[in-house]
């Protein structure tokens, strides 16, 4: 067999491809950033913040589902842990600056993530999903019973406080730009992770685990690290959400929340970076629009129909389908 194409050409082609991908990604990121920066002038900031929090949650989740191939059905536990921890701290220790509350909340979720990971990581596929669900249900039970969460009533009146001790977050705009910064931090981190050498290994594990093992990778360590990162980011989303809304409730810990983040991610497109963001925006917005309008009592059937439609017609999710379309029409 002869090789009509030259080796270096192929390498070069690949590098060029990488570069142009990179450039496109940068441009896209900049456009989005610009939009996000001016958004509060047009859209109600608290609503935007809600979207950003859920987007961060979905991005965190997608690090696992989309890039490691692990379906966690217990991510609500991390959201809620971040949320309650931060809520508790900010309500009870008035000396604490907001960012400290958030950091500790995130750390708590991260620690919980380590615990979950150690228990669950050896299980695969649907067993993994189910064991995370089970653990999350136990966490839910704890939150129902623990006195500090306020049980079914929830935890209310959490002060937004001052960022670094001097920026007053009661101001919605200040709060918005802080949330935006946190979101971007999380998003860029995930983007970096996915493209990193570590990300390559995750991808390999996702596609063929035994093969990755035989190449000398201790896959469980990689999965644990990915899981913990994802848990931490989910906790961060929860912490920030609590500060925005000044409340934490059992909804955050309920399995519906774990389900919701799966839906957001799938709707937007798993395995794409922007997908979960778009998915979260879509779902939050849709729920809001529907619950306001004359279709108020038809929210569930309409959401249901959208899920069905997505699975049947746009399986790669909104972003995934767009990517497909672009690829088809540009190459």
């Amino acid at each position: 067999m002869d090789h009509p194409v030259n080796q270096t050409d192929i390498q070069q082609a690949m590098l060029d491809q990488q570069k142009s991908d990179q450039r496109r990604k940068h441009i896209l990121n900049l456009v989005l950033l610009a939009l996000l920066l001016i958004a509060p002038a047009v859209i109600y900031p608290v609503f935007l913040m809600k979207i950003l929090c859920f987007a961060l949650f979905a991005v965190a989740f997608n690090l696992l589902l989309g890039f490691t191939g692990l379906l966690s059905f217990g991510h609500a536990a991390f959201l809620a842990t971040g949320s309650y921890t931060t809520g508790y701290l900010l309500s009870n220790y008035s000396g604490l600056t907001t960012e400290m509350g958030i950091i500790v909340g995130t750390a708590a979720a991260t620690v919980l993530g380590v615990l979950f990971a150690l228990v669950a990581i050896r299980r695969q596929g649907i067993y993994f999903a189910m064991i995370t669900l089970a653990l999350a249900q136990l966490v839910y039970f704890m939150f129902v019973q623990a006195p500090f969460t306020g049980g079914e009533d929830g935890m209310h009146g959490v002060p937004r406080g001052h960022l670094f001790g001097f920026i007053d977050l009661e101001n919605n705009l200040a709060m918005y730009y802080f949330v935006l910064a946190v979101f971007l931090g999380g998003y860029l981190l995930v983007q970096r992770v996915v493209g990193s050498p570590f990300g390559q290994v995750l991808k390999a594990i996702k596609q063929n685990e035994p093969r990755a093992v035989s190449l000398g990778y201790n896959v469980n360590q990689y999965k644990v690290l990915a899981f913990v990162m994802s848990a931490g980011l989910a906790g961060l989303a929860g912490s920030v959400k609590t500060v925005v809304f000044q409340l934490a409730s059992l909804n955050d810990a309920h399995w519906h929340m774990s389900g919701e983040v799966i839906l957001m991610t799938l709707l937007g497109g798993t395995g794409t970076l922007l997908g979960p963001v778009v998915g979260a925006t879509f779902v939050v917005n849709l729920e809001y629009q529907l619950s306001q309008g004359p279709l108020g009592d038809w929210v569930d059937p309409i959401l249901g129909a959208i899920f069905v439609l997505t699975v049947i017609a746009f399986r790669s999710g909104i972003v995934g389908e767009i990517q497909k379309f672009v690829r088809k029409n540009m190459g």
């Binding site: 109600y44 608290v46 609503f47 809600k50 129902v144 306020g150 049980g151 079914e152 009533d153 929830g154 209310h156 009146g157 919605n172 959400k241 809304f245 000044q246 409340l247 409730s249 059992l250 909804n251 955050d252 729920e287 809001y288 529907l290 619950s291 306001q292 108020g296 009592d297 038809w298 929210v299 569930d300």
Partner: protein, 381 residues
Amino acid sequence: DISDDTVKIGYLADMSGTYRDLAGPNGLKALEMAIADFGGKVNGAKIEVVSADDRNNPDSSSSTVRRWLENENVDLVAGMVASSVTIAVTKLLEENDGLGIVSGSAASSITNEHCTPNHIHYVYDTYPLANGTAKAVVQEGGKEWFILTADYAFGHALEGDVTRVVEENGGKVIKTARHPFPTSDFSSYILQAQSSGADVVALANAGSDTTNAITTAGEFGLTQSGQTLAALLLFLTDVHALGVNSAQGIQLTTGWYWNMNEEARKWADRFMDETGVRPTMVHAGIYSSTMQYLNAVKATGSDDTQTVRKQMMDTPINDMFATNGRIREDGRMVHDMYLAEVKTPEESENEWDLYKIVRTIPGDEAYRPLSESKCSLVSKN
């Protein structure tokens, strides 16, 4: 004067979940009936309604209400069912100096430790529920109590209130069992109740938990073996779902019953024409409270929160909903409550002919006295 020449009312309730039937879309109907009856305008300003499904989720609800208050100049938030939602919303109201009238929630803490100068709790709460039913049952000789409690704030509050009432009246709570919310199979608890030897089995839960428990009690012959079943919170819709066969003889406390007097019946007929069902006490409360609110706006010519609230507190309430009603400084609307008993199949003439009123409990006797209040608005002397 009336801000931007409109009075805007936001109706927030569970439109699609567990609490849908007791308030829900029909509550919105009641609200709209009130506005229509008022003439659609107050002092020349038009009255507008916005509504939202709270999805029993305090996050969503508070972002909705925040937007209503901050961006859409909503003057009154009405409805409100799940206590987590109510507390979140009232906190926001306080922050933004809006006004809220809570009609659906049961928690008495809403005008106790969670009271604010920005809301009114209108229809009922756990305190009179316990007070009315428990007192009556103890006085009829039910001394030893088994309480089956839904394991969440509302259940705990009810359990606490019942225990107090039972003990005050010379009875004794011999056992409580807390079941997770929600539960579908109650046979285990009913068996525990049967073997406890208590005279009375009280249900400190709500909705489908209560109806499931009652059905199971019937199946296991709880009442045949001489025990009394007391349901502390039952809405008309629950009893309707159970049917008189299963529910007959159960005593309950209610803030209103559609067939309790002529005025109520007339309104209920109109409501039925609109919706096809009979109103619950919450539906009636929404109508009544909206009327009171609009009257207060009319009287003061203002939609300023404190002005209107003060006017409402100063005006006694006597209408299709309440007799001897008044709003206290903690925001509690105190009015007469009723001890009712579910009719037997023989007595019941149609599917909605469900209660007979056994006794009227005067408002001051029914509700928590201000002297016991933990509300910061109550002046302690």
